[in-house]
């Protein structure tokens, strides 16, 4: 390593350690601006003069036309779209959300009776704005801000967690853990990581004879080998384990993730309805759902809007045509009452309080389902393609690639 590389690493580490900006910044800025206008006419109060003086002393700039366009910069529309690419090659993003990675999944037979479903990730290289294959990892969670990812090596459950620099592709640090890990998720502020622990590989599959058809087929583990979770502090390299007792609805892989306020965890359970979730406190004790998350579904990744006032839910309506049109439900998070429907078959991430990234079909209702990533807007039929149409293997019922969206 030389000095430049150390500067680069240090700056990245320092940036990654910053929490998000405090809420309400826009209103504070507008208030400062209003005060500044008033003070032009009056004398400047000494106590707040520094802030105003800073503003006045800024060198006069032009309107910004002709500015260069550094990496990550977005225009007012905030869209990076590549409707000709499937799988994507160049960065896809809209508003606050970016496609940080995507993965393909394939079955790998280990013996004649046993195998695993394995992922191969393509991660966003933040220096080039392109996706780069990285076959080293079985599981990847990208931290908000797109600088760092937490990674697990191929053999699950893993005994160490890597912190990967997305710009260089190098692991900056390994965090050894005393419980085998199979899944990872960052908190909303990026300062903590929940690592789901398993006694065995949760993606293992076994050959079993179907008693109804008499044919052999591959099936996943039924009773979940999940044991609990580790709360990891990536900056300090420390982890604390909590045991979680699995109820009857916990099957196979059931990774934990943080709730919106990072105070609780949730994981999917199989129950009377699709998409059900169980919530836990940070000691692993089951608790009731927070008031604004009790209507959410684990299979709808967008969850709550940035301002917390809208809940993204599931497919509500399909209209035939060429192509067909899908609509998903937007509900009041607290009452569960539908407020509106928005275009899109599966809502993946909020771009802002009015726009979402979604899968939307390009085929008619009677044709095989084919979809592409699109940007949809509340109260609008407008659909902006973001990716090419994803291929689908009808025989194996597998998709070409699965997206991973992260807040930029």
């Amino acid at each position: 390593m030389n000095v430049e590389e150390l500067v680069r690493e240090t700056l990245r580490e320092q940036a990654a350690a910053q929490g998000p900006a405090a809420p309400g910044l826009a209103d504070r800025v507008l208030a400062v601006r209003r005060r500044r206008r008033v003070r032009r006419l009056a004398s400047v109060a000494a106590a707040t003069a520094a802030v105003v003086a800073v503003v006045v002393a800024v060198p006069m700039l032009d309107t910004g036309k002709g500015d260069v366009h550094p990496v990550g910069t977005v225009g007012r529309d905030g869209i990076h779209a590549h409707p000709d690419q499937t799988p994507p090659k160049d960065m896809i993003a809209a508003g606050r959300s970016a496609l940080a990675a995507y993965y393909t999944e394939s079955f790998v037979a280990r013996t004649k009776d046993e195998g695993t479903s394995e992922r191969t990730y393509r991660l966003l290289d933040t220096r080039t704005g392109t996706y780069r294959k990285d076959g080293r990892w079985s599981h990847v969670a990208v931290a908000p801000g797109l600088r760092t990812a937490a990674v697990l090596e191929r053999s699950l459950p893993a005994r160490r967690i890597g912190l990967l620099d997305l710009a260089t592709g190098e692991v900056e640090r390994w965090i050894p853990v005393d419980h085998g890990v199979g899944g990872l998720a960052f908190s909303g502020d990026g300062r903590r990581l929940v690592a789901t622990t398993y006694a065995e590989n949760p993606d293992a599959q076994f050959k079993k004879r179907n008693p109804l058809t008499g044919k052999d087929g591959w099936v996943g583990v039924h009773a979940s080998p999940r044991t609990g979770f580790l709360l990891v502090d990536p900056a300090a390299g420390t982890a604390t384990w909590s045991r979680v007792t699995n109820g009857p609805g916990v099957l196979g892989r059931a990774d934990f993730a943080f709730t919106r306020d990072d105070r609780l965890l949730f994981a999917r359970i199989v129950g009377s309805k699709d998409g059900m979730e169980q919530f836990y406190d940070l000691a692993g004790k089951p608790v009731t759902a927070p008031a604004d998350e009790r209507h959410l579904r684990w299979d709808v990744g967008a969850r709550l809007s940035p301002n917390g006032r809208l809940a993204a839910l599931g497919l509500a309506r399909e209209v035939d045509g060429s192509p067909g049109r899908s609509y998903s439900s937007i509900r009041d998070p607290r009452t569960g009452k539908e407020i509106t429907k928005v275009r899109g078959a599966q809502l993946l991430a909020w771009a802002d309080d009015k726009r979402l990234i979604a899968w939307e079909r390009v085929s008619g209702l009677e044709e095989p389902y084919r979809a592409r990533l699109v940007l949809v807007t509340l109260s609008s039929e407008k659909v902006v393609p973001l990716s090419g149409t994803r291929m689908f293997d009808d025989d194996r019922e597998t998709v070409e690639w699965e997206p991973v969206f992260v807040r930029r």
Binding site: H69, H80, R96
Partner: protein, 186 residues
């Protein structure tokens, strides 16, 4: 600003303020409060010209950089910069600990550079901008960018003798790549 522009401004701040704050804090040598002030001032400036700005983020970033290297800034009283304690060594290996210690040293010496020197290093090594773009952003020549970067790195080495252990043979800045992602507008 009319109601739609106010909404657009709020939306921009909500979406991009955390990323902008990261850069602002680095420009201020790790001082979070100074970074928040710097960003707030840049956003106040942007709000005043919101109707005429085509690329809000590029505009705000340019204000951040220029505010930081402007002459007035050099006269600004130095703030006390608090630096976090080194992370616990835990079970990490000796190399990891040594690297972590070097990063702590580097954080401390970065905070002791002048604002202009630090801004140059942030643009070159955090934003990964090529010299020509740094020159354009700061309104100076490529030669100035090159010499300031060189002097900034030399200053880091003189402030922290520990850095002498690093490879001295590769002291020239690495070339950055041009990597503007394609942007398609609806």
């Amino acid at each position: 600003m009319d109601a739609a522009e106010l909404d657009g401004f709020r939306e921009f701040v909500e979406n991009r303020s955390s990323a902008l704050l990261r850069t602002a804090v680095l420009l201020c040598g790790g001082d979070r409060h100074a970074g928040e002030d710097l960003l707030q001032n840049a956003l106040v400036r942007a709000a005043g010209k919101w109707q005429r700005i085509d690329e809000p983020e590029a505009y705000v970033r340019r204000i951040l950089y220029r505010q930081q290297v402007g002459r007035w800034r050099l006269k600004w009283p130095r703030r006390e910069v608090s630096v976090a304690e080194p992370p616990e060594a835990g079970t990490a290996g000796a190399d990891t600990v040594a690297a972590a210690e070097l990063r702590v040293v580097m954080r401390q010496v970065l905070s002791r550079l002048t604002a202009r020197q630090r801004t140059m290093l942030v643009l070159r090594y955090f934003e990964d901008l090529p010299e020509s773009e740094v020159a354009r952003l700061l309104g100076c020549s490529v030669g100035t960018v090159r010499s300031t970067t060189h002097r900034s790195l030399a200053r880091l080495r003189s402030l922290a003798p520990e850095l002498a252990a690093l490879d001295p043979a590769r002291t020239e800045p690495r070339p950055s790549r041009d990597f503007s992602p394609m942007e398609v507008r609806p």
